[in-house]
């Protein structure tokens, strides 16, 4: 028999550390923390002993030493006299540029293939299925090396593009012609693509030893302003629609705002494409040994770019297909029943919902593409792994520093992309109870 009016007794017993839910989790966490610190301490002690045995220390000063090696593809000026730090930066840019273009290409391929895979056309649907199954069930490394071998073994020599005097006389064409409307030449010494050239540049500024073209900056600024203007226009149209019920016709205004300023700017600055070609004499006979003008892109970039886009394109295809399939038929039927026309149904009902499903896996593919650029190592593409984690590491012997720094950089890249994904996810999350 006990009175139960008073509050629970407050005295503390040692057994409460284990059996009381309030203290139990603290106890466990303290133990885990202790074990974790012990483990990390053990690792660090080993590290210290190993470094001492090898007579090494940890220092990042090598980043400011002369690199002494060349990098074939450089987006910013770099020579072998520059520092390891700058080589790292060149490598990082190479990683980013191939990842960037591969992401865009994979998205384009994936969206087209994903939609086609669902098309009612039997043949095309099957072809897309075959594309997806073949490419994603075979290792990416094989595609990268295969593409590289195709470029270096199966592409014609530059001289096969030349017009010789006999050819001009007899009116026949050389063995190979430039592709894509005569602008791009695939040769065994690299791919020559047209270079964008401005005749009246605005000059460059140098920021942290990196020259930045003011013309490009201006073009970007103009594009951004055009997009902003277009958004304003759309918002106005929406306001008018809400006011009067009628949506004004704005597509031509929109087009004008988007394209007008940039076209004018490009015309004013004398923009044109410099198409790679052999110099010719007055009869049209080619001279020289190689293409002139344009940009020569290395095989390793092309192979990595193509393999990454096609391989990851299959995953994007699946994401797009799953996204479209995830929207139930009922949604379309409901929209039709309300009298919305098919294009409005698509833009107002289907797409917003499908994007919600498609974008997260799409971004995780972007993440994978960025990480898989490291496979370029197999074909000597000098990305971050090739410079910092490759030649710099081998030359300086600073394995620990190079690897840690490289992991850190990849981690930051990945976390930035994931952060973007989380922000997106939160902004489009379905409001549900």
């Amino acid at each position: 028999m006990a009175m139960i009016s008073e509050a629970p007794k407050g005295d503390f017993r040692l057994s409460m550390l284990i059996y009381d839910t309030r203290y139990r989790s603290v106890t466990i966490q303290v133990i885990v923390l202790g074990l974790f610190i012990l483990f990390v301490g053990w690792l660090l002690l080993n590290l210290q002993a190993n470094l001492a045995a090898k007579d090494k220390d940890i220092s990042f000063t090598f980043l400011w030493n002369r690199a002494g090696y060349d990098i074939g593809q450089q987006l910013i000026p770099y020579s072998s006299d520059d520092t390891h730090g700058r080589a790292l930066f060149v490598g990082l840019l190479n990683t980013l540029v191939v990842a960037f273009f591969a992401c865009i290409a994979a998205t384009v391929i994936g969206v087209i293939a994903g939609v086609l895979r669902l098309s009612k056309n039997w043949l095309v649907g099957r072809l897309m299925t075959i594309y997806v199954e073949i490419f994603r069930n075979i290792p990416l490394l094989l595609w990268i090396i295969l593409a590289f071998t195709v470029f270096s073994q199966a592409m014609p020599e530059a001289k096969d593009f030349k017009y010789t005097a006999e050819m001009v006389q007899q009116g026949i064409d050389p063995a190979h012609q430039k592709a894509i409307f005569g602008t791009t030449a695939f040769t065994n010494r690299g791919t020559f693509i047209p270079a964008p050239v401005v005749e009246r540049p605005l000059g460059t500024i140098t920021l942290l030893n990196v020259p930045i073209s003011l013309t490009a900056l201006a073009a970007i600024a103009i594009l951004a302003a055009s997009f902003w203007g277009n958004r304003r226009l759309l918002a106005r149209a929406k306001a008018v629609q809400e006011e009067t019920g009628l949506r004004p016709t704005i597509w031509w205004k929109s087009l004008l705002i988007l394209l007008g300023p940039i076209v004018l700017f490009l015309l004013a600055s004398g923009f044109h494409l410099d198409i790679p070609a052999f110099p010719t004499d007055e009869n049209g006979v080619s001279k020289g040994f190689n293409f002139q003008g344009g940009i020569n892109i290395g095989h390793s970039f092309m192979a990595l770019f193509i393999a990454l886009s096609i391989y990851h394109g299959t995953y994007v295809t699946e994401a797009v297909r799953a996204g479209i399939l995830a929207i139930s038929r009922g949604q379309t039927e409901a929209a039709f029943a309300l009298g919305l026309r098919p294009n409005r149904t698509m833009s107002l009902i289907i797409l917003p919902q499908a994007l919600r499903v498609i974008i997260p896996p799409l971004i995780s593919q972007y993440l994978n593409i960025t990480k898989n650029t490291t496979l370029g190592m197999a074909i000597s593409y000098l990305d971050l792994k090739g410079t910092l984690g490759g030649i710099t590491l081998n030359q300086t012997g600073r394995e620990l520093e190079c690897m840690l720094l490289m992991m850190l950089i990849y981690l930051i890249l990945s976390l930035t992309i994931s952060l973007g994904m989380n922000i997106f996810n939160n902004s489009v999350k379905l409001k549900e109870r």
Partner: protein, 480 residues
């Protein structure tokens, strides 16, 4: 006034639809030419098929098996089909297939990896069809039949053929009599496979397994008295004592006293698909328990444990696999006690397992999140404690839901095993191909190794992904 009443006196017989609405014409119209756009697509598709087939068919159809060098192959092609004819020189596959498959493993010992591979399926049987007699028996029997065929194919001597046959028959009998007992084969598989593949005295692997046995029995005996977690800690501690202090001496004595051993294979003999399978299978099986712990940690209410789990998972998922491989080859030695030295394959397996465990953890976390909250509540209401609830209620369901995800993790891991070439191991794609092509006769064989290796990868990955799709569909309808 019109007559509104109507009675049908004769029923109408069904009639054929109008012409053009059935059969091939209808199918073509609906599936290929339903609209102008569709017609264009069909034509583009046909053109694509034509150009692919016309490009690849001659090369494949003219393929030569007998010539034993690329030059000879080209010569035969030119002589028989004329100048400029193309054709595959499969001679490289015919003469070097064993290197693509087994690396530099002793030819007389091919029965060992093949037996280990068959045992892998035997040990999967109780996991996939727990205790069900006929599917277990079919799996064991199928593995046994294929094993005998493969052994015969690689020319195993009759004594080892008989040995392998005997083992498989015994296991099939076990699957018939007591399919649940096959779980013991599963538990013993890691040690068995290690012994078969690496060779050496049998006592080393047995010693390692004894450590696990010690941990389990101590845990089992002590958990009633001192609770689950302390018992587990005690078990692990005693196992560590065994491994670090006693095992070496005991196994050394036993190896002297009872010398049972297979000829040891040095690590640099491992290569080709054998290496890919060793790394893939051991990494995925080691990553499962780790992944389960990480998934539980990530769902824990305890901030520290959650932070550590999330930190590990996000770190591993944030860095490329190649950095993990280079950690194995360059960095791991810095963080282990000085003079620790073990072979690169094991180091790679450890790091790849850690890598895979982060992905497996996310798959399992997804499976756990798909369970209704009520399951945990019902377990609580019945008085089950945390580990009982996880082990008996949550995990069986979560793992079942995660099987397709685990299989796709395995597929990507299996494909990624080709990357070990970059740290100098002889994977089938780059490592072995490079070695084969360094032979003067096969220097110009650019495409055949790609096709051969790619086809094998395709067969494995495609069938596994189909299997996981089949499982997924089956799970959708099972008991729900």
């Amino acid at each position: 006034m019109p007559d509104t009443s109507f009675v049908r006196r004769e029923m109408l017989a069904p009639q054929k639809p109008p012409a053009g609405q059935s059969g091939a014409v209808k199918w073509l119209r609906e599936n290929l030419f339903s609209s102008p756009f569709n017609t264009i697509l069909t034509i583009v598709g046909l053109w694509a098929v034509y150009s692919l087939v016309s490009g690849a068919a001659p090369w494949l159809l003219n393929g030569m098996w007998s010539p034993s060098s690329v030059d000879e192959c080209r010569e035969v092609l030119t002589n028989t089909l004329g100048e400029g004819a193309t054709g595959a020189c499969w001679g490289v596959v015919r003469t070097r297939w064993h290197q693509f498959m087994f690396g530099f493993y002793d030819q007389s010992a091919y029965w060992r990896p093949l037996l280990a591979f068959a045992l892998l399926f035997v040990s999967l049987a109780p996991v996939l069809y727990f205790g069900l007699r006929s599917p277990s028996l079919m799996m064991v029997g199928g593995a046994g039949a294929l094993l005998v065929l493969a052994l015969w194919g690689v020319g195993t001597d009759s004594w080892h053929l008989a040995l392998a046959f005997g083992v498989m028959v015994a296991l099939a009998a076990l699957a018939w009599v007591a399919p649940k007992r096959l779980l013991w084969v599963t538990l013993a598989f890691p040690a068995t496979a290690y012994y078969l593949l690496w060779g050496g005295p049998v006592w080393g692997p047995i010693g390692v397994m004894v450590g696990f046995g010690v941990a389990y029995f101590v845990w089992h005996a002590a958990q009633v008295k001192i609770g689950v977690t302390p018992a587990a800690a005690l078990g692990i501690a005693l196992a560590l004592v065994w491994w670090l202090m006693l095992q070496g001496k005991v196994t050394a004595v036993l190896a002297m006293a009872v010398p049972i051993e297979l000829p040891a294979q040095s690590p640099d003999k491992f290569g080709g698909f054998l290496l890919s399978f060793i790394i893939g299978v051991s990494a995925i099986s080691a990553s499962l328990p780790l992944g389960i712990l990480l998934a539980l940690g990530r769902r824990s209410d305890m901030l520290l444990i959650k932070t550590l789990s999330v930190g590990f998972i996000e770190f591993v998922r944030g860095v490329p696999l190649i950095t993990m491989l280079f950690t194995a080859s360059l960095l791991l030695q810095y963080f282990l006690p000085p003079q620790t030295n073990f072979d690169l394959i094991l180091r790679v397996i450890i790091l790849v397992s850690l890598f895979a465990s982060a992905y497996i953890a996310e798959v399992i976390r997804g499976g756990m999140a798909s369970l209704p909250r009520g399951q945990q509540e019902a377990a609580d209401a019945l008085g089950l404690d945390y580990w009982q609830a996880q082990r008996l209620i949550i995990m069986p369901q979560a793992l079942k839901v995660s099987i397709p995800g685990i299989v796709s993790s395995f597929i990507s891991l299996f494909k990624d095993t080709t990357l070990v070439a970059l740290v100098g191991l002889a994977d089938p794609l780059v490592g072995i191909t490079r070695i084969v092509r360094s032979d003067i006769y096969w220097k110009a064989a650019y495409w055949e190794p790609f096709v051969f290796v790619g086809a094998i990868f395709f067969i494995f990955c495609f069938s596994m992904s189909r299997y996981s799709m089949y499982l997924e569909n089956k799970l959708k309808t099972d008991h729900r």
